[in-house]
Symmetry: D2
Subunit: 388 residues, 4 copies
């Protein structure tokens, strides 16, 4: 009732538009915060599409030009869910207009843009976040707590993969995610960005990398998808794929841990296989997005004979965010990571601080992404020089 | 816009109140039906509690007497999420008032009440359903499709358990779910009702049963829970537990299959272990609620050497309800079974028919529950006499 | 060198003959006991077959009449791996001849025979055992230790199934295991006997049962298998199957635990699914023969938030028998349960005592089997009256 | 009876000595080949130790100098299970003495030695093999068959790890496996060699690599293990660890697949985690040594909605080697991979050819190992130049 309102203007009304809308819609249902989001306006170029989205998802109004959102006084925060090449322009303009900003990942097309964005939000003093949602799975937050508390000891190994298979058909069209001018990169910015974020969150900064990138199918029919990731409209004309289908890299963390990372859209049978394992001197954890409520934990302190990985269903009151939902054993899904993230964004705005992951995290992530790209070209190890 | 509105009045604002509210709230977001629910009013005896629930969950108004909902012209359907002993009275009154009804399970305290309720809704010609939500997991619907299409052949075995552990502490208080006058039974009506419904849905009617029921902890502190299943307020006074902690029974299905069923609140480590396995002449399936997006399927038609259970993540467009949500591999959670169920309820009202599971299913389920109780007392097999 | 020799005479040279032979052969390799087996003679009616088996498996001699084994002075112990209807005659004669006896399960065709056998070995003062090998999986022995030490607290539930699928083809012939005069029963004596033994070993005696038995395919081609379980020689003539294809029963244990048991040869996709779960007031265990090295353990004493089933690979020095084999993480297989069992048999002979499971266990098991059969006929609960 | 005898002389009587002995001992029990091994002599420097091993494991004689084995006329083949630095000398001398040779992995200390060994066996015309046993798991052989038959299509990804944790305690002593002069390398030659072999076997040759190696604990107490991997005898003196604790590398295969490899002894909770995943254009496989009987297979040709990884228990007659053992669903263990391998070695000798994996495989493996080492030093990609 007397709650502070955070009036949102969202840009983009496809997959991420849907996920973010759901999050704003359900946030007050599950979380009792000092502030609450108001779904004020959604923007998109195609009027029919954006109007339908507004109605279906519950936005109070719509715009066909995102710049209009920045001009409106009744909007406090901008949510950017567009293709990657527009992130920087929108985010910088939003900051300059004094709006708080939450932006989908990867933050931008390159480190330079990322630094400009970070500079803009810092200069404007607005709250900023980046949409690395998997941090917000209760199991991941709990893993972080274990690591922070030293339960795993010194970390020796990080092993992270993000495996998908949705573009393996050579007739799958050259959608925007496969075009360098729009997406910046392929599996790299889309998937590797996520596991880099998880590793940074859980273990710390990466010091140096050496990597390889590959495009297995080099030409594809020109076309776009209609109606979701699955359906596609293809043509007889072919265009060149100029982004990676897959990337793999080795990493050294600043604290001495070794890392292996792999992101691909060519791992048949893996629809959404975001998996991370961390081994420390005192214990280990394993997590898999396709079974995201569970965390597997091994503790060296278990007595001999009783040692083994525990499967912890992170739906209990001890697990971050879990008590907002259902009783123990009643699982949550993909979308709840967005609700959890938005709870932090709204709290951050209420308190005037930028919760992690924010643009600094986005920029550091971009530094790793770019270092891998340079390494792939130079065939040498590349240091991460994050002048942030 | 021009959609038919189904104005809901809900009775109850605890666990099921929350789950049903979420479902109504999100239904239009995910499903594009000809009709849509309106969250008109919620009823509960405690004004502060029901008012807070109304505000938090988005109900337009509230009442402190459920009878008021029946009197209001602006309400089309009644949703009953109260303790079990009130189901019959409210449902019958609602039907007599010409309201459609959806009622939580178990349908009632006994077969007699169930038949009265069924009679009332049939006589009134209103749409009716019962909240056996687990039918609405995409994996279960897909299993049904496989069985209906004969992919498993003749069914020989059904093996179902529902294992929980939330009342194992002897100091856990004598909450309403442990009182026969309010709940009717313990694990039996609460948990066994669910697996009976799954078995009936997937395989068919049960012909006869023999069972056993047990109360392991016979006295508990008098008190109620405050704030969810976990927290409890206990006293120094003790009262007798007059419902079952656990039940197990054998069954013969009308088509000749053998069944074993077990429901308990005393299976340490199992928070919500609703698991079912079905073996047929041509294949088998396995499902576990704690990993509810997955269905395990074995097909005899796989060539020798390549035979094994497949783990199918039922998040693809071929899986019922899945396309309403996210791309393949992005899992849904417990609450989505309610959204799926409500989509059927609203469609049923729009089309003037009562989708399964409805009060007939509820009554048949109650016949099985009661037969198990009688068998447990008589120590003999009992025929299911469903005069429905 | 100076080790005591236990000279074995084995009756039977099919599946169990192979498994027992392997066990004797490898026992001295893995275990350093005070005594060691000598593979003295193997007996079987078909000379060509038994001679080939003797040569291949390493028996020093062979006989075509098992009675000859009893007459020979150079044989200390008789190992009975014949079809079930011969167990009693051979075992009693062996005892009377002063030979130690190890007999395959089920001990006999009925309780009466079992008691006669028990009487015979007791009277003769010979060492006796029964081949319930699954007790000898390190994971099961470790589970026993946990239960004995009170780690699981008071036991509330036992849930055991033994699922196979090898006779589901209606053209599979009427082999000896499907004939009552030879096998005594079907899945019941073959498979249920195993899970009854596991439950008795881990939890204790069963007080009463109610059960059902079913024969899904009532006529089969007359014939026998040639060369293993897989290959079969069938004819055009059909005979009646007079044993059960499947059995299920409920049980109450003397200490108050509830049990559900199911054994079937009609669970498609389950080649050898011997699975047991036990729930106690302080913890739970789960085990599955198809993954027999692992034990899943849940402990209530784990701190909140860290609770979950641990997967313990029972290949460490703390796990019974494991140190006889390979380093941790190097798994053993089915046959090693026989080696472990034989190590107890040989030790028992050296020390003049009959290790569990022995004929008393076999007789108690038979009492449960027979009570289930009677219950299936009478459709009532039957008390286990073990006058042993 | 009239079978050709292959008289074995084995060098080494520790872990590999035990495993190889078991294999020779059991080979005739399970496999009916044209030839059979005779356990003629075992050699080791410590007379008491080697004598005890000979007696326990069933060797007819023993020697305290391996050179004696080469001089003996009654020995046909030499089995080398010593520490790595002795492989080359013994193998070359054995070949020159006209003995067939089977040698443990890694083949030698470096590529140069490997080529000398390969040259020696080729020149002598003797049969040679290398002990990459994991090829001989039925699941791996079956995976090979699937890949050879094109069931997985074009291979895009290989993902292999070998994770152990047995030396993580800083007080674990400086055993021979941690000394460069004896072992050559650490996890690299011990564990990475295995997953390189699996990848080469299943997918083909590696073209280039870039890698990193790490020693987390740089000083350890001087001492040796007594009685198995677990028990250790340590002192107060410390020595430098000059081998790697962990290694990771990226690879490009000649056919274009990308590979990631990691081997470590610092992955807490992983006793023996040899895991490999392969993704192709038409399907994928997954395998894990700790559950070695199972192969997980995903086939794109499964109809939409029915797609998922199958868990195939490779114990059926269609699976290589499986029919030598037990009926379907009765698993085998670690040691059976040695029996399978020895069956090929003995067959190879009977037929006068060197089955894979042989010294050529060992040398190619060594080329990869050495390229990774050079890459780790140069921080650049290194081509595999296998002049073989």
């Amino acid at each position: 009732m007397g709650k502070k309102k955070v009036r949102i203007g969202m840009v983009g009304y496809k997959f991420m538009g849907k996920a973010h809308s759901l999050a704003y819609r359900n946030l007050p249902f599950f979380f009792d915060l000092d502030a609450e989001p108001v779904m004020q306006a959604i923007a998109g170029r195609d009027e029919a599409g954006v109007k339908a989205a507004a109605e279906k998802w519950g936005w109070a109004s719509y715009e066909t030009d995102w710049r209009r959102l920045l001009e409106r006084d009744d909007i406090d925060a901008i949510d950017i869910g567009t293709p990657n090449h527009m992130h920087a322009e929108i985010a910088i303009a939003a900051a300059q207009a004094g709006k708080h900003v939450i932006c989908e990942k990867p933050l931008s097309m390159n480190v330079k843009e990322s630094l400009q964005m970070l500079d803009a939000v810092r200069h404007a003093g607005v709250v900023h976040m980046i949409g690395h949602i998997y941090r917000f799975a209760p199991a991941i937050q709990y893993a972080k707590k274990l690591i922070r508390n030293g339960e795993l000891g010194q970390i020796y190994h990080v092993r992270a993969v993000y495996l998908q298979d949705w573009i393996m058909d050579p007739n799958f069209p050259l959608v925007w995610r496969l075009r360098k001018d729009v997406a910046g990169s392929g599996a790299h910015g889309d998937l590797a960005a996520h596991i880099i974020d998880l590793a940074r969150f859980l273990v710390g900064e990466i010091k140096e990398v050496t990597g390889m990138m590959e495009t297995f199918i080099k030409k594809r029919p020109i076309g776009e998808m209609t109606g979701g990731l699955g359906a596609a409209m293809t043509s007889n004309q072919f265009g060149e794929v100029d982004v990676d289908d897959a990337v793999a890299f080795l990493a050294r963390f600043e604290d001495g841990a070794m890392g292996t990372f792999e992101a691909t859209r060519f791992a048949k049978g893996n629809r959404n296989g975001n998996r991370i394992e961390i081994n420390g001197s005192k214990g280990s954890i394993r997590w898999d997005l396709e079974n995201m409520n569970n965390l597997q934990v091994y503790l060296d302190s278990d007595e001999p004979g009783m040692q083994g990985f525990r499967t912890i269903n992170c739906t209990e009151s001890e697990h971050p965010y879990a008590s907002a939902y259902w009783p123990a054993g009643h699982i949550i899904g993909y979308e709840h990571t967005f609700i959890n993230m938005m709870s932090e964004f709204i709290k951050g705005i209420a308190e005037g601080r930028s919760p992690a992951p924010n643009f600094e995290d986005g920029a550091r992530n971009q530094c790793v992404l770019e270092a891998v790209e340079r390494s792939s070209a130079s065939r040498q190890w590349v240091n991460i020089q994050a002048e942030i």
